[in-house]
Amino acid sequence: MGLSLEPRPVPSRAMQWVSPLLALLGTAVFAGLLLLWLGKEPGQGLRVFFLTPMSSLRGWSEIGLRMTPLLLCALGLALCYRANVWNIGAEGQLVVGGIAGGAVALLAGAQSPAGFFVLVLLGGGVAGAAWGGLIAWLRDRFHANEILVSLMLTYIAQLLLMYLVHGPLKDPNGYNFPYSATFEAAALVPLILAPTRLNLGLPLALVAALLMALFLWRAFAGFRLQVAGQAPRAAAYAGFDSRRGLWLSLTVCGALAGLAGALEVAGPIGQLTPSISPGYGFSAIIVAWLGRLNPLGCVVAAWVLSVVTIGGELAQSRMGLPNALSGVLQGVLLLVLLAWDTLVTQRVAWRDIRTSVATAGVAER
């Protein structure tokens, strides 16, 4: 008897949704084994990782705060991947959005009107869209590979931020630390659940998820973009312009990631610092796939990933586990997910090797 994979006639819808759950389970098992190997008690470790973050209102609000940038970036990435545009640079678009949002926020004075933060968010969104549009232009005009370009533009964005906080945007009264001045109250995103740090960003991100779902499943433009992504020859047959999907997906993704960056600097951070994102734009790639490129699935996936990230930080402070652990688990989650995803288009078959040899012989005759 042998185990073999054979293609399914039709991709399995059930497996499409079971696969993320199996991936989570697999990651939990792997985490347990890793804890055992590190000489910690696995039960306690898993509890800290997956349950403690949800044990208080403050914990929940922190999860919501983490979810916001992850979800916004993942929505944009899901759009790109559905358009067959392999943007992996949401991180750079987020950083540029943070820079522009921060630059606008620094213009606010003590007398600025209460709605000033709207300008901050707009600035972030526009700058992110421009950064994404740069990738679209390079691919459209010069056929540059968007995977490389989007990744490299991330480093440029980070170095730009570094230059600005060490130079032009440095706080003159900041004792030469590489930080900007802290923003005026009017430039900050309003809190929605005082005394926690949760702000208007989360409802904005959830609305964005609903709008994205509406766009993908109800709008003609969303349909066109997905036809071009899934079957370019069908798009030519229909007479759809493939360049439109490229530009649309990259600018929208950039705008959402840029908005996420502005929400970060004008939210929990409150100023420009050399590191405004712990890799939200990269983690969002995992969120997008874990959520099956489905905007509502991304909401759940962003929540799961936020829990694990916060759990990782708690494990570090409470159990003395290395900081890298939550990064390791995120990577394992993506790999296990991709492995399980094989079973969406393939199925496992037990095959008697002797019979298959015999059938092959018959077929030859």
Binding site: A221, Y237, G239
Partner: protein
């Protein structure tokens, strides 16, 4: 070669330059040389390409959504949003009328057998009542029953007064359906042969000219 000509005639691919040479291309007197496939459709063109999966339909999309590949009329949209109920109703009607074996309008194109998907594509393209139909290898890999239905649908369209350009390598199919033939061989198109005059030997000789030319 036939493929390249089909995608030029359909308007999927337009010549890079504005020069179209001496070539004429018109539907009901309207010059369509500079128009893309969507605009040609609005002038009455329908096109059934040889690949039903991946070109005539998107494999991973439902049958009702796949209708939209060849529909641009405002009936299907309101404010840029799709009227899904209408689409599903039309898909259901086509499935029932043409006896397509499918789970329903929400069935993915890839879930249908070749013959059933081809029946659906033919039904979709003929439903608006085109004045010109371009159809390539309509019964490739299609079962006998479906092939007979497709042939009948083409004959019905001809009876309704439409012009049909059928590209096929199946001589039986061509003799059963066509009023006149052109043979394409080695990149050259033969003169028109009326069906009454054309015999299988004559067609065969025209198909073989390439070999004669090479031998000579």
């Amino acid at each position: 070669m036939a493929r390249a000509i089909c995608s030029r005639l359909s308007g999927e691919r337009l010549p890079a330059t504005a020069q179209h040479g001496a070539m004429q291309m018109a539907i009901d007197g309207t010059d369509v040389r500079a128009l893309g496939i969507a605009q040609r459709r609005s002038h009455g063109l329908a096109f059934i390409p040889e690949e039903r999966l991946g070109r005539a339909t998107v494999p991973g999309m439902a049958l009702d959504w796949n209708l939209l590949l060849s529909r641009r009329e405002p009936d299907w949209f309101s404010w840029g949003f799709l009227r899904r109920r209408r689409l599903a109703a039309l898909a259901r009607r086509l499935i029932e009328r043409h006896q397509v074996r499918a789970a329903g309008p929400a069935a993915l194109a890839v879930s249908l057998t070749g013959g059933n998907l081809q029946k659906y594509v033919v039904a979709r393209e003929l439903e608006p009542g085109p004045t010109v139909l371009l159809v390539s290898q309509p019964t490739w890999g299609v079962d006998v029953g479906a092939a007979a239905r497709i042939h009948q649908a083409l004959l019905d369209l001809r009876a309704a007064g439409a012009g049909i350009l059928l590209v096929s390598e199946d001589l039986d199919e061509l003799f059963a359906l066509c009023d006149a033939f052109h043979v394409m061989s080695a990149g050259r198109l033969s003169a028109r042969l009326a069906a009454e005059q054309a015999g299988i030997e004559q067609i065969g000789r025209l198909m073989g000219t390439i070999d004669d030319a090479v031998a000579a």
